[in-house]
Symmetry: C2
DNA sequence: ACGGTGCTTTGATACAGATCAAAATATCAA
DNA sequence: TTGATATTTTGATCTGTATCAAAGCACCGT
């Protein structure tokens, strides 16, 4: 488990390739994956899977952003997962989807037929190991979110969300000058509200407030600049050391 | 992964024995576990591990209840996990605890020295597999909780918590007569508040309200009777089919 | 029985965020 | 360019839950 280090190229067909590349894939495993793999594209707003649908595949996000959402009978919605490139979706062993999966931007996913993938997991222990690590990461993220949902103020929630998106997308494709950085906000106000347990009006107001206070900058409606990341993290109320990666 | 069925006796020393007994443990694996295993007891209120402490062990709850809690600098607290008998705690591969672990009742844990346990996971794939299943279950529970924290009303939150405790403890030690069942509430009002993202006053008020409306019964302060489980589930706002186990 | 120390309940009031409503702005097709 | 539609902002008001405060109860050691 210790020898999995993020690199960039080898093993590009591995379902678990992105966040940390698997250094142990054997040629024949890759062949097996090749056989059960296919790509699918979705447009922003399209639903990838409905809660309760039969799961024919598990998948990994290649480009774009998807969200996992739970809905109550009366329509209240809560996002419970945000899938960025490299994130995995689908639970091996589960027949039916537990959540709606929605493309919040244009989206490309790399899908693996579920049954053969499950088989592969059994014969290839290190895939299961890797999946365990990823699941534990997700669990940590979920628990961080629970703190946010249960105890943070609206302003702190917004700041936290911006910080998370900034950190995750900055790693991928962004110029970071000293403490400042820019990125494109990939979520509508409504999607943010669903993520944060707020209404879209409150999201809008708090973003305006952060803007007025100079914590963030907006060009147009979607392009965000964060002049000072530390200022944002202060607003987020996270315990000091930007623990994201611990 | 399909051949793990809940039974009751064999393999009683296996760290993953409880919720579903591992049918594949070999004799020598048990010997290895025996060597790295020890029991620890805690009194209600004691802290098992502080966030940031060095993790010397991973463990499984034998009896009693523990909680995982996150705390913000200014003292706001959010419980992010409730550990009942059979639940596992500790992340293999992580040096330092990410959360406070607190005994909310008297507690007995079966601990395994961390390093040797990690080693064992590498040499014994099916332990990793089992751990993956348990982690995925926890992730599902966490996401259910995110819906609760983000979108449910105070009354729905209380009803949901009672339903969860009822369902998890009923399985272990309770007489269930038709739809009615009783159990001992193992959490203080404050602990419930930390779990639900509420204040203890609100918890108290809502419990009183549920009592007045006949949804629950209290004898003393801790013994709860639920006359009709379906009524409680209605109050919880969960989507119809008590999906807990899906 | 006594007084202490924690829990829990109940009451009065305040406020953050929800809700309802409408205007402003962006997006896009023709 | 011009509507037509979707998204975002802003305003006015309402409400569920927090906050502050105090009283009620249960448990425990002496």
């Amino acid at each position: 488990m210790q020898d999995l280090k993020p690199t960039s190229q080898d093993c590009s067909d591995c379902p678990i390739r992105h966040r940390a590349v698997c250094a142990r894939c054997e040629q024949d495993e890759l062949k097996l994956l090749e056989e059960i793999k296919y790509y699918r594209s979705f447009e922003a707003g399209q639903t990838v899977i409905w809660q309760g649908d039969k799961m024919e595949f598990v998948a990994s996000v290649v480009t774009g952003i998807a969200s996992l959402t739970q809905t109550m009978e009366d329509g209240r919605r809560q996002m419970v997962g945000l899938l960025l490139p490299s994130d995995f979706v689908g639970r091996p062993g589960r027949e039916h989807a537990a959540y709606d999966v929605v493309a919040t931007t244009n989206l490309v996913m790399c899908c693996f037929r579920r049954r053969p993938f499950e088989q592969l997991m059994i014969t290839t222990p290190h895939i299961a190991e890797r999946l365990l690590q990823m699941t534990l990461d997700e669990l940590d993220a979920a628990r961080e979110w629970m703190l946010l949902l249960g105890r943070k103020t609206a302003r702190e929630k917004i700041a936290s969300l911006l910080a998370i998106i900034a950190q995750r997308t900055a790693a991928l494709d962004q110029a970071v000058t000293n403490n400042s950085l820019s990125f494109d906000l990939p979520l509508t106000r409504e999607a943010m509200a669903d993520y944060l347990g707020l209404t879209l009006e409150t999201v809008s107001r708090q973003i305006s407030a952060l803007k007025k206070d100079g914590v963030i900058h907006l060009e147009g409606k979607r392009a965000v600049t964060i002049p000072d990341m530390n200022m944002l993290l202060d607003e987020a109320g996270d315990d000091s050391d930007g623990g994201m990666l611990a």
